[in-house]
C-alpha cells in the first residue's frame, strides 16, 4: 500500500505541466557544457594523464610540499664584532632622559634592549613630572613610525643636508637683507640651548621674529602674570598641603598647563579625616570633573564672571556681578568652604582669558594661598606663547612684509585656526621652510622640509620649571638622515660644534652643583630658585567688566585636547589612536559632544547596530564665517547647558597611514586661540557616522561593580554597611560565596602569591596603564573596524560608569516597578558622577575559564596567576564566553601580517617591529590571550633574586600598568610577604573583589571609592 502512494513535487507535477515533464526527463535545466570541460574527445583520449594520474600528481606534490615545509630554516646568530661593555644581550639597560614633545614634559627612564629603546618608564625619583601619561608611554612608537620624513627635501625632491642648509640659510638671509621679516614659528622652547641659538640668530638677522604656537594657547594667563609677577610664566601648583581644590574648567588632572599633579592629588585623596576635597565647575566632562567630589555645570562663557562673583564674595574689591541663581548658590557654598580652607585651598581657572586667571589668582591671594598651594617663585616655564605677536605676524604676512617663514615642529596649515588668517596668507611669503618629522600638511606647501630627529635620538637640555633642569640623551643612533632643531641652528649659524659639546657647555653656563655626568645619569637636577618678586597691584575692575562682557547666550563650543592625541602631535600613533577616550570610550575619532537634551533639540542621535557597533548622525557646525561639515555627533552627559565640545588635533590628511582621515579638523572653526567660541549654529546633515565605541552599558544598574561610598559613611559607619558582602542562605546559615565554594582550594601558602590592589579612589582614568600594557605585552593594534565590533585587544581596559538618577532606593520610595526601574537605570544622570574602573584578567583562583578549556590551555599556577599557553590554544573561545569579567581577547586575525591591518598595525613593517618586547610572544591568529600580570617581569625579578641568593623585595619590580600609574592606584606584590604593601591593602576595609558573589576568588582586588561630598 505504502508503495503506491505518490508524492507530488509541486502543483506543476500534479497537473502534469510540460515544464515538470521536461524537468523529470533532464536532470539539469540547461545542458551542461561538458565538451568545454573535456575538450575534444580525440585529445582527451590521446592524453597520457588520466584522472587517477592527476590525483596522484596532486597528492604527491601536496605531500612533497608538506615534507619540505617540515625542514627547519637555517637561523643565523650574529654577535657584535666589538661588544659595547654595558650591553649584555638579553639584559635591558635603562637611560634617564627628558621629553618635551607636543607640550608634554616628562622625566623618564628608557628601557633599551640590545641597543633599541622598547619602553618608556617613569623616573619616579624626580619631583617634577616624573610620571608618564598615556602619550608619554606611547611616544616611543613614534620613533619607529615609518611615515617619518627620512631625508631633507627641497622643492619636493630629496636633497642633502649641506645643500638644504645652504639654500635655507640663503633664503633667510635674502629675506632679512631685503628688509622683510623672517618668522620663526616654533612650539614652546624650554631648551636653554635652543633659546640661546635662536637669540644668536635674532642677533644675526635683525628682522627675525620668534612666534610660539603650541596648539593650545595660555597667552591670556601669561599676559596676566606678566603684569602681576613681572614674568611671562605660569605659577606651579603645589598640592602637598592642599585641602580643597576648586577648579573652573581647569582639567588639571588631564589637559592643563603641563604640570602633572596626579600623584600628589591621589596621595592627598586617601580616604581619611584630611582627605583633599575637590570641587569642579566645568562646561564639558573632563577627567578632572570625573574625579571631583562635587561637579557643577558651568558654561564656558560664564567662567570669568563666576570667578568674579566668587572673588567679590570672598571680599575682593569688585562689585558683585550677576550670575544665574543656581550657580550663585553653588558659588556661595564654595565660598564658605574656601574661607574655611584659607591657605590650604587652590582655585584654578581654565581657558585662555586674562580675566579668569586674574580672578582665580585674586581669590588665591585673598585666601593666602599664594606661596603655599600656588608657587610664584618656582615658575612653570613650559609656556611662553603670545597671541598678540602671532596676530601681528599674521598682519605682516598678509601685507607681504614677510620674506621667509620657518616652522619648527609646527604643522601650521593644519593646526593654526583658520580664523587667524595666517595660513591663507602663507603663499605671500617668499620662502617657507619647515622642520618637521613627517611630510605633513605644512610640508606640502613648504619649499624646504627638513627632517627632525625624535627625542630618543637627541641630545638636549631642558628647563621646564625654575627649579628643574633635565637632560635628554640619545638612546639609539639616528634611524634616518635627520637633524634636530639645535643642530640646524648651529649649522645656520655656521658653528662647527657637536651637539653633545653644545649641551655640555649650556649646562655649565647654568652653574649647577651636580657634575654633568651625574645629571645625565639622574636625568634631572634641581636648580636654586630666586625668591618671588613682590606682587604688583592689579586693576580688578577692568577684569570684572571683561568678565561680564564675556557672558553670552546661545550655543557655545569648547575646543579641548583629547587624552589620546593632546595637541595632535601623536596623530599617527596607532596605540594612542586606538586608546578609548576615558570619558566617551570612543577610539579612532573626534566628534561633537552634545548633551542628550541638545541632541533631542537638534534631532540627532546615537544608535547601536545589532553587532554592538555605535553609529551617529552628522552635523554641520558654523562658527562665525567658518563652517565645518560632516562632524559626527556623540551624545554625552555632563555638558553645560547649550554647550558642545570638539577635540583639536584630528582631521589630518597627511599625518601618515594610521592617522589620515581620522576625525575632523577643529582648527577650521576655532575662534582664534580661545579655548571656546560662542555664537555657534549647528545643523543636522545627512549620512551616518560609524563610531568605534567599546562601552555600551554606561551605568552599573544598581550592582556592586564599582563600590562607592561617601567620606562621611567611611569615617563613621562600619565597613559592613558600605562594603556589603553578598551572603547566601545555606543549611549552615548565611555564608559568603567563598565560604560555600564547590572548588578545591589551591595551595597558596608555599611560594609567592601575586596579588594586585586597584584603588578606585586614586584612579583618574588617564589611560597610561593601557598604553604601558600595549608596549610591554606586544598588544596588537586592530583598527577602527575591529574596535567597532568590540574586538579590541587591550589586555587592560578602563571601564567608565555614570551614576543614574534611578536607584534602588528611589524606585522603592516611589514604588516604581522593576521593568521601568531597570529601563530608567540605564539612563545616565544629566550631570552624572563618574567612576573609572581598570579591569584586566582578575586571575581568579576558582577560574571559570580554566574549567571549560577542552585542551587545558589556560591553567592555574601555584603563584595565584591564571596562565595562558598560546600554543596550546585551539581557539574554541569557551573561556571568553565563560569569563564573568570579559577580559579575554581573541586573535581574530593575524594582525601583524594580514594586509587589512597594514595601515593601523605598526608591527607590519620592520621599523614598527623594533618596539616589540622580545620577552613576550607575538600571538598568532586563532588563539586567546589576556593579561598575564606581566609574568615576564615576575620571572625576571625572581631570577634576579635567585642570582643574588636573596628574597624578592617588595616593590623591586611591578607590572607595566602599575609602574605607569602616576596616581599609585595599582599596587602589585606578593601577599605571602606579610610586610608587603599589597598584603596590607588586602586587609583594608575598603577591599572588595569584582563580582565577588560569583565566588571566583580573584587575585586582583579593588578598593572602594570614597567621595568627599559636601
Amino acid at each position: 500500500m505504502a508503495n503506491s502512494k505518490k508524492y507530488w513535487k509541486g502543483f506543476d507535477d500534479l497537473i502534469d505541466s510540460p515544464i515538470s515533464k521536461s524537468l523529470a526527463e533532464n536532470e539539469f535545466a540547461e545542458p551542461l557544457p561538458s565538451t568545454d570541460f573535456y575538450g575534444d574527445e580525440k585529445k582527451l583520449e590521446s592524453s597520457s594523464t588520466s584522472r587517477r594520474d592527476f590525483l596522484k600528481f596532486l597528492g604527491f606534490s601536496t605531500a612533497a610540499a608538506t615534507l619540505a615545509a617540515c625542514e627547519a630554516p637555517v637561523v643565523e646568530s650574529i654577535p657584535y664584532v666589538v661588544k659595547p661593555e654595558e650591553i649584555i644581550p638579553g639584559v635591558p639597560n635603562y637611560y634617564a632622559t627628558s621629553i618635551f614633545q607636543g607640550g608634554d614634559f616628562a622625566s623618564v627612564l628608557v628601557k633599551t634592549r640590545e641597543g633599541r629603546p622598547i619602553k618608556i618608564e617613569p623616573n619616579k625619583d624626580v619631583a617634577f613630572n616624573g610620571g608618564t601619561s598615556a602619550r608619554i608611554q606611547g611616544s616611543i612608537l613614534s620613533l619607529y613610525d615609518a611615515n617619518r620624513l627620512q631625508e631633507p627635501m627641497a622643492g619636493g625632491d630629496i636633497s642633502s643636508w649641506p645643500e638644504v642648509i645652504k639654500a635655507t640659510k640663503a633664503a633667510i638671509e635674502k629675506a632679512n637683507n631685503s628688509g622683510k621679516q623672517v618668522l620663526f614659528v616654533t612650539q614652546n622652547i624650554i631648551s636653554p640651548l635652543a633659546n640661546k641659538l635662536v637669540g644668536q640668530m635674532a642677533m644675526q638677522y635683525s628682522n627675525l621674529h620668534h612666534i610660539i604656537f603650541d596648539g593650545t594657547s595660555f597667552s591670556g594667563k601669561l599676559d596676566f602674570y606678566e603684569k602681576a609677577i613681572g614674568k611671562r610664566a605660569l605659577p606651579t601648583m603645589n598640592l602637598d598641603n592642599a585641602s580643597l581644590i576648586v577648579s573652573f574648567n581647569a582639567d588639571f588632572l588631564g589637559e592643563y598647563t603641563g604640570q602633572s599633579v596626579s600623584s600628589t592629588y591621589a596621595a592627598k585623596r586617601k580616604p581619611g579625616k584630611s582627605m583633599l576635597r575637590h570641587v569642579q565647575f566645568e562646561s564639558m566632562l573632563s577627567i578632572s570633573g570625573a574625579a571631583a567630589d562635587n561637579r557643577y555645570k558651568l558654561r564656558a562663557s560664564e567662567q570669568a564672571v563666576a570667578l568674579a562673583y566668587l572673588y567679590s564674595k570672598l571680599g575682593g574689591a569688585v562689585s558683585k556681578p550677576n550670575v544665574n541663581e543656581s550657580t550663585a548658590s553653588q558659588l556661595d557654598a564654595v565660598a564658605k568652604e574656601l574661607k574655611a580652607a584659607a591657605g590650604t585651598s587652590l582655585v584654578l581657572a581654565g581657558g585662555n582669558d586674562e580675566a579668569s586667571e586674574a580672578f582665580a589668582f585674586g581669590i588665591n591671594q585673598l585666601l593666602g594661598n599664594v606661596g603655599k598651594t600656588l608657587d610664584v617663585a618656582n615658575l612653570l616655564l613650559l609656556h611662553a606663547e603670545n597671541d598678540a605677536k602671532l596676530s601681528n605676524a599674521t598682519k605682516s604676512l598678509a601685507s607681504g612684509k614677510v620674506g621667509a617663514v620657518v616652522f619648527v615642529d609646527v604643522n601650521a596649515v593644519h593646526a593654526l585656526p583658520k580664523s587667524l588668517g595666517f595660513t591663507a596668507n602663507l603663499d605671500k611669503a617668499d620662502a617657507v621652510i619647515t622642520l618637521t618629522d613627517r611630510l605633513d600638511e605644512t610640508a606640502a606647501v613648504a619649499n624646504y622640509a627638513l627632517p627632525l630627529t625624535h627625542f630618543l635620538e637627541s641630545w638636549n637640555i631642558l628647563h621646564p620649571t625654575s627649579n628643574t633642569v633635565g637632560l635628554s640623551q640619545p638612546t639609539i643612533g639616528k634611524l634616518f638622515n635627520t637633524m634636530q632643531f639645535e643642530e640646524v641652528l648651529l649649522a645656520w649659524l655656521g658653528e662647527d660644534k657637536k651637539l653633545y659639546d653644545a649641551v655640555k657647555e649650556t649646562y655649565s653656563e647654568l652653574n649647577l652643583d651636580a657634575p654633568f655626568n651625574t645629571a645625565l645619569h639622574d636625568g634631572v637636577v634641581s636648580k636654586e630658585v630666586a625668591a618671588a618678586a613682590a606682587l604688583a597691584d592689579v586693576d580688578y575692575s577692568g577684569y570684572a567688566k571683561a568678565a561680564s562682557a564675556a557672558v553670552s547666550s546661545g550655543t557655545e563650543i569648547v575646543f579641548y585636547r583629547s587624552t589620546a592625541l593632546g595637541n595632535g602631535t601623536y596623530a599617527n600613533n596607532p596605540w594612542l589612536l586606538e586608546m578609548p577616550d576615558p570619558i566617551s570610550r570612543v577610539s579612532w575619532d573626534n566628534y561633537l559632544m552634545v548633551s542628550p537634551s541638545k541632541a533631542e533639540e537638534l534631532g540627532v542621535r546615537n544608535y547601536t547596530e545589532s553587532n554592538g557597533a555605535v553609529n551617529g548622525d552628522y552635523v554641520t557646525v558654523t562658527v562665525g564665517e567658518n563652517q565645518l561639515e560632516n562632524v559626527p555627533v556623540f551624545v554625552q552627559p555632563g555638558l553645560a547647558p547649550d554647550t558642545v565640545a570638539l577635540a583639536i588635533g584630528y582631521g589630518r590628511t597627511a599625518a601618515g597611514k594610521a592617522g589620515n582621515e581620522v576625525g575632523v579638523n577643529a582648527a577650521t572653526i576655532m575662534n582664534g586661540l580661545q579655548h571656546w567660541a560662542t555664537g555657534v549654529s549647528i545643523a543636522k546633515a545627512s549620512g551616518k557616522h560609524e563610531f568605534a565605541c567599546i562601552q555600551l552599558a554606561h551605568t552599573m544598574m544598581g550592582r556592586k561593580i564599582v563600590n562607592e561610598t561617601t567620606l562621611e559613611a567611611f569615617l563613621n559607619d562600619s565597613h559592613e554597611s558600605w562594603n556589603v558582602k553578598t551572603k547566601f542562605e545555606t543549611h549552615k546559615g548565611q555564608l559568603t560565596a567563598s565560604e560555600t565554594t564547590l572548588w578545591q582550594a589551591h595551595d597558596h601558602q608555599t611560594g609567592h602569591m601575586w596579588n594586585m590592589s586597584i584603588d578606585l579612589n586614586s584612579c583618574i582614568g588617564c589611560g597610561a596603564c593601557v598604553i604601558a600594557c600595549n608596549a610591554e605585552n606586544n598588544v596588537p593594534v586592530v583598527g577602527k573596524d575591529e574596535m567597532r565590533r568590540h574586538r579590541d585587544m587591550h589586555w587592560l581596559r578602563i571601564d567608565r560608569y555614570y551614576s543614574s538618577d534611578m536607584t534602588e532606593e528611589v524606585a522603592e520610595e516611589e514604588g516604581i516597578r522593576a521593568t521601568t526601574k531597570f529601563l530608567k537605570m540605564e539612563i545616565a544622570s544629566d550631570n552624572p558622577e563618574v567612576v573609572f574602573q581598570p579591569v584586566m584578567c582578575q586571575h581568579c583562583n576558582n577560574a571559570p575559564c580554566e574549567t571549560v578549556c577542552p585542551v587545558a590551555a589556560t591553567v592555574h599556577s601555584a603563584e595565584g596567576l591564571n596562565h595562558m599557553a598560546y600554543n596550546r590554544c585551539i581557539g574554541t573561545r569557551y573561556c571568553a564566553n565563560n569569563c564573568p569579567y570579559k577580559v579575554r581577547r581573541f586573535n581574530w586575525f593575524s594582525y601583524e601580517n594580514n594586509s587589512d591591518f597594514t595601515a593601523v598595525n605598526p608591527a607590519q613593517d620592520d621599523l614598527g617591529r623594533m618596539v616589540l618586547n622580545p620577552d613576550v610572544t607575538v600571538r598568532a591568529r586563532g588563539v586567546m590571550e589576556k593579561c598575564s600580570l606581566c609574568i615576564q617581569r615576575i620571572q625576571y625579578a625572581k631570577l634576579e633574586a635567585k642570582k643574588d641568593g636573596r628574597k624578592v623585595r617588595d616593590g623591586e619590580f611591578t607590572t607595566a600598568c602599575a609602574q605607569a600609574c602616576d596616581s599609585g592606584a595599582l599596587v602589585f606584590g606578593d601577599i605571602n610577604d606579610s610586610a608587603s604593601r599589597v598584603a596590607e591593602l588586602k586587609k583594608d576595609t575598603r577591599m572588595y573583589h569584582l563580582l565577588e558573589d560569583v565566588g571566583t576568588e580573584p587575585s586582583i582586588f579593588y578598593q572602594t571609592k570614597v567621595r568627599n561630598k559636601a
Binding site: 650574529i78 654577535p79 664584532v81 638579553g90 635567585k946 642570582k947
Partner: protein, 431 residues
C-alpha cells in the same frame, strides 16, 4: 720523551736529511750547545712566554726563534731570570732592548732553574724550525700515513657473504635435486620450490595475520616517530663560517665556558662571544701547531686561515700586530644550532647561575666536539623530564629560605624537585 740536543736532531715529524743538514749547519754556528728537554721547554714556553713572544716574528716582545744565535746562553739566563737586575747592572744589550720595546718590562722568572731555561731555549730552536719542509727542487713531503683509525671496509665483506650464501643455497638445491633423482622423483628448480613455499605461507591464515600485525605495528611505530621528529633537530651540525673547535678551546686548553659565553650567567642568552673577546687571546695566537695523527696541521697550522677570519672581521693586521685604522667591521654570521621555538622562553642564567646546572647537561660533551652539534632533543618532554628529576638547591640559595621550610613540611622526606616549586606550569616557559 727526553731528547738530547747534540748536533743531531731527531724529531718526531720531519726526517728530511737536507733539513737536518741545514739545521746542523745553522746550529753549529750558534754560540752554544744547548742541552734541553724540548717537551718541558714547550710546556714552560706555553705557560710563561707565549703570551708575549712568538718564535718566528715579533709580537709584544721580540721573536725568539733565533735568540740563541743572537745571545749567549749565560746572558739569556740572566735576562730571563731577572732582566731588571741585568739592566741595572748596566748591560748595554739589556738596556737597548728595554728602550727598543718602549721600556715595557718583561716579568722576572726567578723560579726557573738553569735547566728550565735551557729547556725553553732548546724549544726555541726546535719549535723555531721551519715546519714546511721544502728542500731544493725535489723537497720531500711526507705522504700521509693511514692512521689505522678506520676499520675494515664493511661493504665488500657483506657482498662477499651474500654471494657465499647464494652459492650455498644453490648448492643445497643441487644436493636436494640429486637426492630426488636418486629417489626417482622429478627435480625441481629453486624458483618453483620458493614460490611453492611462499604460496603455502600466503594460505596460512595465522601467518598472514601475524605478519599483518607486525608490519602494521612497525609502520605505525615508524610513522609516529617520524611525525614526532618533525621540527626536532637533534644532532643538527651545520657548517659554521669559522671552523671553531670546542675540543681545542674547551677541551685541550681547558678554557672555562663562561669565559667566552659570559652572558650565560647574567642573561637568557648564553651569547656568542664578540670578536673582541676572541682577540684577547688571538692577538697573540694566530695558529696552532697541533697536528693530526698523520702529522698534518689539525687547526690550520702556524698561521691559521680560520683565525685570519677573526682578523678580517675585526680588522687586525697580524703582521703589524695592530688594529687597522678605519676598518669596517664585518660581523661573523654564525649558524645557530640550538633553536627553540619563539613560544618557549628559556633563560640560561636561570639554569647556569641559579640552578647550577653544568653546560654539558644539555649541550653534551662539548669539550670533545670539534664541530658542535645539538646533543639534546630540546623537546618539551625532555625539558619536563629534567624538571621532574632535578633537585632545587633550596638549602643554599637565600631566595628559597621561607619557601624551603614550607616545602619540607608539605613534602616530608621527599626531594624538592623543580616540579614541586611549579616548574611544570605552562606560564613558567610560555608567555
Amino acid at each position: 720523551m727526553r731528547t738530547r740536543f747534540r748536533l743531531t736532531l731527531k724529531t718526531r715529524f720531519y726526517a728530511n736529511v737536507a733539513l737536518v743538514l741545514f739545521l746542523f749547519l745553522s746550529f753549529f754556528s750558534a754560540s752554544a750547545e744547548i742541552e734541553g728537554d724540548v717537551a718541558n721547554g714547550k710546556s714552560l714556553w706555553n705557560a710563561n712566554c707565549a703570551a708575549c713572544h712568538k718564535l718566528d716574528r715579533k709580537a709584544v716582545g721580540p721573536a725568539l726563534g733565533d735568540v740563541t744565535e743572537r745571545r749567549t746562553v749565560e746572558w739569556l739566563i740572566k735576562w730571563i731570570r731577572n732582566n731588571q737586575e741585568l739592566r741595572e747592572s748596566g748591560d748595554r744589550d739589556a738596556i737597548a732592548i728595554w728602550e727598543e720595546y718602549n721600556r715595557s718590562a718583561m716579568p722576572n722568572y726567578p723560579q726557573f732553574s738553569d735547566q728550565d731555561i735551557l729547556d725553553i731555549l732548546a724549544y726555541t730552536i726546535d719549535g723555531g724550525k721551519p715546519k714546511e719542509v721544502v728542500a731544493g727542487g725535489d723537497g720531500v713531503t711526507l705522504a700521509p700515513v693511514d692512521g689505522g683509525g678506520s676499520g675494515p671496509a664493511k661493504l665488500p665483506v657483506l657482498i662477499g657473504l651474500g654471494v657465499f650464501f647464494v652459492l650455498l643455497i644453490m648448492l643445497l638445491a643441487k644436493v636436494k635435486n640429486t637426492l630426488r633423482i636418486v629417489k626417482g622423483e622429478d627435480p625441481e628448480s629453486v624458483a618453483s620450490e620458493l614460490s611453492g613455499f611462499s604460496r603455502g605461507l600466503a594460505k596460512n591464515s595465522a601467518f598472514v595475520t601475524l605478519a599483518t600485525i607486525i608490519i602494521g605495528v612497525l609502520f605505525l611505530h615508524q610513522l609516529y616517530w617520524t611525525l614526532m621528529g618533525v621540527g626536532m633537530e637533534q644532532n643538527y651540525q651545520p657548517e659554521q663560517p669559522i671552523a671553531f673547535s670546542h675540543a681545542l678551546h674547551a677541551g685541550e686548553n681547558g678554557i672555562d665556558c663562561n669565559y667566552c659565553h659570559s652572558s650565560a650567567r647574567h642573561s637568557k642568552h648564553s651569547g656568542i662571544p664578540s670578536a673582541n673577546v676572541c682577540m684577547n687571546c688571538h692577538m697573540y695566537i694566530d695558529g696552532s701547531e697541533i697536528t693530526d695523527a698523520s702529522g698534518n696541521p689539525k687547526y690550520g697550522g702556524e698561521s691559521s686561515p680560520e683565525i685570519a677570519k677573526i682578523y678580517a672581521a675585526i680588522g687586525w693586521d697580524p703582521a703589524e700586530n695592530a688594529y687597522i685604522e678605519g676598518h669596517e667591521e664585518m660581523p661573523i654570521k654564525w649558524v645557530r644550532i640550538h633553536n627553540l621555538p619563539d613560544l618557549a622562553y628559556f633563560n640560561h642564567a636561570q639554569h647556569v647561575n641559579a640552578g647550577g646546572i653544568e653546560c654539558q647537561t644539555c649541550h653534551g660533551p662539548i669539550e670533545e666536539m670539534e664541530e658542535v652539534y645539538q646533543y639534546s632533543p630540546l623537546t618539551m618532554g625532555w625539558c619536563i623530564n629534567c624538571h621532574r628529576e632535578t633537585e632545587v638547591q633550596v638549602e643554599t640559595n637565600g631566595y628559597y629560605e621561607d619557601m624551603h621550610a614550607k616545602l619540607a613540611k608539605k613534602y616530608p622526606g621527599e626531594k624538592i624537585t623543580v616540579e614541586k616549586i611549579g616548574g611544570l606550569e605552562c606560564g613558567k616557559c610560555h608567555y
